[in-house]
Symmetry: C2
Subunit: 226 residues, 2 copies
DNA sequence: CGCTTCATGAGAATGTTATTCTCCCACGTT
DNA sequence: AACGTGGGAGAATAACATTCTCATGAAGCG
């Protein structure tokens, strides 16, 4: 955080710029190498998850696949937990982008919201076919063990939904009262978790709640319109 | 499965009634004893959970506390998983009863629903003070690993909410269209999971969504009332 | 050019649990 | 009295994550 360039306690003038730069350079190099390694771990983990369709891989598998060592792994990650968290944040970012892109295809604010809600619903659903174990396996667990991290990872999505809600509000399409951001938060949660427990898209006998139903529910609630 | 004593496939007459009864009696006795033991395991687990406020106890602790043996434990339960499931179902039943009782204190169908929603919200919230680790720890995990069991355990609650919804519908307080049962299911999910991620009742800086907001959201949605 | 340091590789050691297995005894039955 | 069975004690196993040890090779330095 604080750079030592300032001249307070220690003699700054005794740290010439060239030295700073030299250190900087070697530091940078080290950082690059570290990033390289981290990337390899991440890539390997992602590949394994894609194959097995679960987050239940072992650290062993990851290091074997990435041709690195256990030692190295724990040098770069605080534990398996952090690896998954990194992957999760990444996935959330990409998801937010995907949804934003899909929504941008419509001009009406409510249409945009609708598309976003329905796509998020589909993406959050536990489909054994599609490989999204991070959403269906990891996220729920993380939610109980590290709620703060989850909140952080959800940020991009929340931002997106807040944008969409705000646009809708500006267009006078929201009912007055609740702040867009809170509506966005509740809508997100509602959509994601209802998707979770809605079973796979096909199976089931009776229940499977659909994206349409969720949209209908979120947007209009259940009371009679007086 | 198949009995070895019989010559033909089935010879009921060759099994005298007295023998049947004798077997019955000893079977019943065994069953009683088994139930006894199961109760002890359950009780011990519950006590430990109450003390530690988490489902992360070890099987060891349970058997020590209940003064029984590992062998016995695995003879009665398929694994720790089944023990927790039993406790969970129990807790859900009691929760449903509690909510039903609270709701019965009001005469207006919508008031009843409101009370139910708000109480469920409070009960589902991760309050470190109150000891409800089954809701906050176990349920989410179970949801991903054994969705069917969760659905089963949720049944009493779903039934309750369906009743309340149906009453509201009968009273003409629901908007036409959606079936009460589906509204009940979505409302339940929405309330429970939003509570999950709403942080403890007190802490937090900005967010913490409230029971009122959730009720408002579920009942009225977010669109403008034309 | 030798020396030191640091990031890594390789993999053994540890720790924690759940789960299974083995031995053994007390009992009611035959 | 032999016997079959339920159950107690607790050792053995299995999976993993995590930590620790040792060795190496390359970068930096005098």
């Amino acid at each position: 955080m604080a750079q030592k360039t300032s001249q307070p306690v220690s003699t700054p003038s005794e740290e010439p710029a060239w030295k700073q730069r030299a250190i900087e350079r070697s530091t940078q190099a080290a950082k690059r190498r570290a990033e390289q390694r981290v990337e390899r771990f991440l890539g390997a983990a992602q590949a394994i998850m894609a194959e097995k369709g679960t987050t239940d891989f072992t650290v062993q598998e990851v290091i074997e696949r990435s041709r690195q060592s256990l030692r190295s792994f724990y040098q770069h990650f605080d534990g398996k937990h952090e690896l998954l968290l990194a992957l999760f944040e990444d996935a959330m970012n990409r998801t937010a982008d995907q949804i934003r892109a899909a929504a941008s295809g419509h001009s009406d604010p409510l249409d945009r919201l609708k598309v976003a809600v329905q796509l998020l619903f589909e993406l959050s659903r536990p489909d054994p076919t599609a490989q999204r174990p991070l959403f269906t396996d990891f996220a729920p667990r993380l939610l109980v063990s590290h709620p703060a991290e989850v909140k952080f990872a959800h940020a991009p999505l929340l931002t997106l939904f807040t944008e969409l809600m705000t646009e809708a509000e500006t267009a006078g399409r929201l009912r007055p009262g609740p702040k867009p951001r809170r509506l966005a938060a509740m809508t997100m949660q509602t959509v994601m978790f209802n998707a979770q427990s809605s079973g796979a898209p096909d199976d089931e006998s009776a229940h499977p709640i659909t994206a349409d139903e969720i949209w209908d529910f979120c947007s209009r609630g259940f009371t009679h319109t007086r």
